[in-house]
Symmetry: C2
Subunit: 215 residues, 2 copies
């Protein structure tokens, strides 16, 4: 198909498509004449993947480039590729609130308590420590009381994620499934958590009202 | 304290502090002379809150302004204020991938199945539908198989969140606790999920290796 059809099919504007090709996110079309290129179903899928990472996952264009580089060039070891993909979708934080030392100890303690085997340089450890130090800096240090409830929920989600990615391994690569599942899955989790808040809040106010009414 | 001390205390540059005051995120200091203002512990705390929303929560300056407006001016009903805060921290999505009708039906079905009492116009419904339509558009429609595992995990997290926010209600407002807990909690959840992935993956590859070794 020509670039106009690719644009209609995906809803992505032609200048944006050209920009993604220039930036190395999307492979160039096959040249059918000096001024015309032809695109295929692979381009449609890749464009939808790029838009999903940006619109749903909130990634920057350069983060998407890093993610796709990891997806496209698998090394020998699946473990290394997964590591590179995780790095790309977890940009290193530049924030350094006060109280980072204590927050890092809290994270190390949690990881030990859960028995998680993660490398000490995993970027998510620092992200988590920044979040906890921020909570503490604004007087909400007791958020740490709910950390184990969060960790337990994440263990369940991770088990479901791994089972899903395993089933998808043959379709188009385990690494892509993991990356897509992680980035889009964060958005799904965030939306579901907000919806679950509404129900939990409704239930709590209901029971308060019942208590007040003496029923 | 003077603005220089406020800057040192919070790690936020002076021009940035002035920008937040101009944009209405931070109250102006108390004027002690025509050219000098004095800031207090409330400014320190508010600045840390703003930086947390931006650096950890990934919110834009205008989203933070909306959130703080909801936090600062509680109406009569807690329920309405919570709704306004949820709106502010859940920007309406502009993405419209193909297959939205089917995705919206899947979300409605999930909400019915979980028994969640949420308004049909809740912005998280549309966000969730966009994520599901994106999964489907790139050939990962079977992600819907794990939706209930995600929803169950979110019910546990929401219960922990509500209990935590309830304990914090007296300290500095239920609404602020809910907002902070939602925005920073997303970051905590995302980091913990990535760490849990590493452990789940280690466990899976270990058991595969054991199976291959016939142990």
């Amino acid at each position: 198909m020509r670039i106009g059809e690719l644009s209609r099919e995906t809803g992505v504007a032609i200048p944006t498509i050209k920009y993604y090709v220039r930036e190395g996110l999307l492979p160039a079309g096959r040249l059918t004449s000096p001024n015309q290129a032809s695109y295929d179903a692979g381009h449609v899928r890749r464009l939808r993947l790029i838009r999903g990472m940006i619109d749903v996952g909130g990634l920057s264009v350069s983060a998407v480039r890093d993610v796709l580089a990891a997806v496209d060039s698998p090394e020998e070891s699946v473990h290394n590729v997964l590591g590179a993909a995780q790095e790309a979708i977890t940009p290193r934080t530049t924030a350094a609130p006060e109280g980072m030392e204590e927050a890092r100890r809290t994270v190390a303690e949690l990881i030990r308590r859960r028995g998680w085997r993660v490398e000490p340089q995993n970027p998510s450890i620092e992200k988590l420590a920044v979040a906890l130090a921020t909570f503490r800096g604004i007087g909400h240090g007791d958020f740490e009381d709910v950390l184990d409830a969060y960790a337990e929920a994440c263990e369940r989600v991770a088990a479901a994620d791994l089972a899903w990615a395993g089933r998808n391994a043959e379709v188009d690569g385990l690494v892509e499934s993991v990356v897509v599942g992680t980035v889009l899955g964060d958005a799904v989790l965030s939306a579901l958590r907000r919806l679950a808040h509404v129900e939990a809040s409704a239930r709590r106010f209901e029971s308060l009202a019942e208590g007040a009414g003496g029923r």
